[in-house]
């Protein structure tokens, strides 16, 4: 059976895990956006075209929950922080518009869950789109866009792109890339 979702434990001190699902042809994108921006839904939606591997989101989410624990978040919610951490710029609104969705119909939706609290069961049925197994993410990835966003065009080789991406993401607060 193909895995529907991607899940992994985040920093043990935060006692949280990440759950991520892939959807295509979503019809109620603006409703989803509104619910997230108003804080009604606790989740993040991400453009799948800019994600090379689910681990990239795991690193961003992990940094977000760790910052949350130490009160050093740059944005107001852990979910906005995930989008901010994915981007290399320190400009919050640019980060959100780059990695969040506007009119796109394909999306990744992420939840940060604990043993006590998991919002995914309530929210997932309200996504009007077709769920795809997470290992089909590659079909949605746009390598050219990724290379431009993460400034990867001058690299010596295309091996280990994911390594370069996550290493740049976690150092953006003190290195200019």
């Amino acid at each position: 059976m193909q895995p529907e979702l991607y899940t992994c434990s985040l920093d043990p001190d935060t006692r949280t895990s990440l759950k991520m699902y892939l959807f295509e042809n979503v019809q109620n994108v603006s409703e989803i956006r509104n619910n997230i921006m108003k804080g009604i839904w606790n989740c993040a939606v991400i453009k799948p075209s800019l994600i090379l591997d689910p681990f990239q989101v795991a690193v961003a989410a992990n940094k977000a929950v760790v910052s949350g624990k130490y009160n050093s978040m740059v944005t107001r919610t852990v979910f906005a922080e995930i989008l901010y951490n994915l981007s290399l710029t320190k400009n919050i609104s640019q980060s959100l518009s780059k990695f969040g969705i506007e009119t796109d119909q394909d999306l990744l939706i992420c939840f940060v869950v604990t043993a006590e609290k998991d919002d995914s069961k309530e929210i997932l049925p309200q996504i009007e789109g077709k769920q795809r197994p997470i290992n089909e993410l590659g079909k949605f990835t746009n390598l050219k866009e990724i290379k431009s966003v993460y400034k990867l065009n001058n690299l010596k080789s295309d091996e280990n792109l994911l390594d370069v991406i996550v290493s740049r993401m976690v150092t953006k607060n003190f290195v200019s890339h």
Binding site: S9, D11, F174, V175
Partner: protein, 234 residues
């Protein structure tokens, strides 16, 4: 759920732990507090070293030098979380045990490894990365192919540079000369049974790129004549 950290190594500056973190084998480098330093100074030194280390690791990747990937840089806990190569051997241990590890192939292996080291150090310097602590303990060999069990014997490995805590970015030939000198001294003291190592490394260093090489080598000769510290006269 308690964090299970296994102490892996302990150095003068930091403790290394290994664990599974966000689903990956991870090495945590924790720079512990030094009680003999003023707390403010201690914090700022630690922060600077963490930044230097992370900055150089990222810069190396763009230069095509393998380094462990960074998963989290955490100033609050004084830690860098990075990829842990589960199969690895330091170049130091590899060379010391080379007669057992590469039976019959010894001289081929030494030629190969010195070539890789020379080229890698050259790549660092071409990108103005000064490592600051070039020793064979700060170089790891890892298998190219994870599933190959005889990777050492078959010389099927890649070189990963580690421990960038003393590194910085500088374009001067002086600092590159000193970096080479540190490596030469380290090789002499660790591998005195293979006196030809440094010469071979320097040969590969020269051949990899001609850019600025004369100046670097002549600076290296200066440093060799006077020692690592610049004389402070006048």
């Amino acid at each position: 759920m308690v964090e299970e950290l296994k102490l892996y190594k302990q150095g003068a500056e930091a403790k290394l732990y290994i664990c599974n973190y966000i689903g990956k084998p991870t090495l945590i480098k924790e720079r512990f507090k030094k009680n003999y330093r003023h707390p403010d100074l201690d914090l700022s030194i630690t922060k600077d070293r963490i930044k230097n280390e992370a900055r150089s690791i990222v810069r190396c990747k763009a230069a095509g030098v393998l380094t462990p990937s960074l998963y989290l840089v955490d100033f609050d806990r004084r830690r860098i979380y990075m990829h842990h190569y589960e199969k690895n051997i330091t170049v130091k241990d590899f060379i010391i045990n080379i007669s057992n590890l590469c039976k019959g192939n010894e001289s081929y292996s030494l030629d190969l490894i010195t070539k890789i080291i020379g080229e890698t150090v050259r790549k660092l310097h071409e990108n103005n990365i000064i490592h600051g602590d070039l020793t064979t303990s700060n170089m790891l060999l890892v298998p190219k192919n994870e599933n190959e069990d005889n990777w050492m014997e078959k010389n099927d490995y890649e070189l990963v540079m580690i421990d960038f805590g003393l590194s910085y970015v500088d374009s001067s030939v002086e600092d590159k000369g000193v970096d080479l000198y540190v490596l030469e001294r380290a090789l002499i003291s660790t591998h005195n049974d293979y006196p030809e190592l440094f010469g071979k490394i320097l040969e590969a260093y020269k051949n990899y790129s001609k850019n600025n090489i004369k100046e670097i080598l002549s600076k290296f000769e200066d440093v060799r004549a006077r020692g690592r510290k610049r004389t402070m006269v006048g």
